[in-house]
Symmetry: C2
Subunit: 315 residues, 2 copies
């Protein structure tokens, strides 16, 4: 398949490996790029110089295009952007902020920019800011989430209507069938998070990887809506949040319960009870920790299989 | 297309028109059946003898198969079932209850039974209860909703894994592309609600039909989770519920705010501020009130168009 997304990024498959906190280091990004996808380093859990080290390692580990995901609310975002330019990273995915702030600066340095949104309204703003592509992420996604709670099935056609640039679907996509569904809805690429989080090359703690593949349907939920909505595994920490929210706890109280470094505690240090465990609904379908190559092979095989089953089916 | 769903119900298209309260009377059901779909009368907002009248009118208005949706929590469910048997309704869709209670009784009378679920666990129970098909409905659906909040994109593959019988996808399906996505995920039919709610033949109040087609993304939300989760338009009544939930209101207080007959007030009597307005997320894509024939034509046309765009696309 060659399409607007593969051409834009110079990749074989229109599959983006999401740049997730505590997960997407150079090992994962390089493996994804080597497998024909676009690998993304997730910078939001990295100090600036840590990001630089990951970028340099990634360059050594692959000669294919890769990128960095930058959360625009990151306190030292200017340092991150400077490093990205200095290190000549070819592609940046921005999220959680205004796409106007950095897009033109990055593009002046020849960097391709995609921006992550959760609504058609934000997609239009990203297009107006002259990004090269939009990632539209639905309610089923792990981690931070939009306030409208629009699901991927509804979101992609709504975003498609307002975009002239390439559209990448995210949220709930971790298998070939869900990828094909995204294409049926009008997407030209997919961003896959949870499935790569439970890969051999992911930097998540092994205990959390095991937890991910043990999850069943209904084992994640959106929480902390009075702060920033985030999809979490329903562990002991989640239940504490849920109890507080049920009795009407204020944002300040929720912030106190959340405290600091909860995501690191859970996802990187492996505290499955007291940590914040971010993962998407689709994780309930995963049964084993796989290498990135195995994951990509499975995605391609199931996509093509589902296509052959649909082939010629007309109403 | 001929498949397990069209053969099971004896219909042309694998499209079920959902049996919705205050919406799906004989006019809508007969129009849907005449258009080649399976029309369903929604009995949950009908007194038993009102249902009998609708069934009789429906028989006069179509010679194609049609069915009745029965919410198993309905207080006079025995009277409804007796009328359904007496009137020789060929198909029943049950929801909101245990599929074991009525399935064998209905099947002894030659009635085909489908059961609506929101999880793979309930799907397995429905299959064990020997229903003929399962409807799996995701988080984006209007009205009553499951507690797991699993979206259609994630739910359909999870349910598909555990079912040997036909699977009908619901929630977020109101266009040909979303229908094709459901097929890509492994469904063999779709149940369409919101799109038919805003049809000429729907018995909803005209003011609410107009409201539906004016909705934008983010204009509905799941509420009343301490009672039964229900997706509602964010009107004045919703905001009163939201404020109460935010401060931790108890189930008893929410029940008092809800009161009685809120859905009738909104959906049938057209009180757009104080009524309970149940509709799905996908309604944000609809721009006009259409006849059932126009809706079915659009679904078929867009499905086939999307198929032709996907055709031959392999990874």
């Amino acid at each position: 398949m060659e399409n607007t997304v593969t051409k834009l990024f110079g990749i074989k498959y229109p599959i983006i490996q999401a740049g997730m906190i505590w997960t997407s280091g150079w090992r994962l990004a390089a493996a994804a790029s080597n497998a024909g996808c676009l690998g993304l380093i997730g910078s939001a859990s990295m100090y600036p110089e840590v990001l630089r080290a990951h970028i340099r390692q990634c360059k050594l580990a692959t000669d294919r295009p890769f990128g960095v995901n930058v959360a625009l609310i990151y306190p030292q975002v200017e340092e991150l952007m400077q490093i990205i330019v200095e290190e000549k990273v070819p592609i940046v995915f921005t999220s959680a902020g205004n796409p106007k702030t950095w897009t033109s600066h990055l593009k002046e340095h020849g960097i391709k920019v995609a921006h992550v949104v959760s609504s058609a309204a934000f997609a239009r703003k990203a297009q107006d800011a002259k990004v090269d592509a939009v990632v539209a992420e639905g309610f089923e996604a792990g981690g931070h989430n939009g306030r409208d709670e629009t699901t991927t099935l509804c979101l992609i056609p709504m975003v498609r209507q307002v975009l002239d640039i390439p559209l990448i679907a995210a949220g709930g996509i971790g298998t070939g069938r869900t990828m094909l569904a995204a294409f049926a809805l009008g997407a030209e690429g997919v961003q896959v998070g949870s499935r790569f989080a439970a890969s051999v090359e992911s930097s998540m703690h092994e205990a959390f990887k095991q937890k991910i593949i043990d999850l069943k349907e209904g084992d994640t939920q959106l929480a902390l809506k009075k702060l920033v909505p985030v999809r979490l595994v329903k562990n002991a920490f989640f239940k504490q949040v849920e109890e507080a929210e049920s009795r009407g706890a204020s944002a300040a109280e929720l912030q106190e319960i959340l405290g600091r470094a909860r995501a690191k505690k859970g996802m990187f240090e492996g505290d499955l009870d007291e940590g914040e465990l971010e993962i998407g609904q689709i994780a309930a379908l995963f049964n084993s920790i796989l290498t990135v190559d195995e994951i990509v092979n499975d995605l391609v095989k199931e996509f093509n299989q589902a296509q052959s089953e649909l082939k010629g089916l007309l109403l």
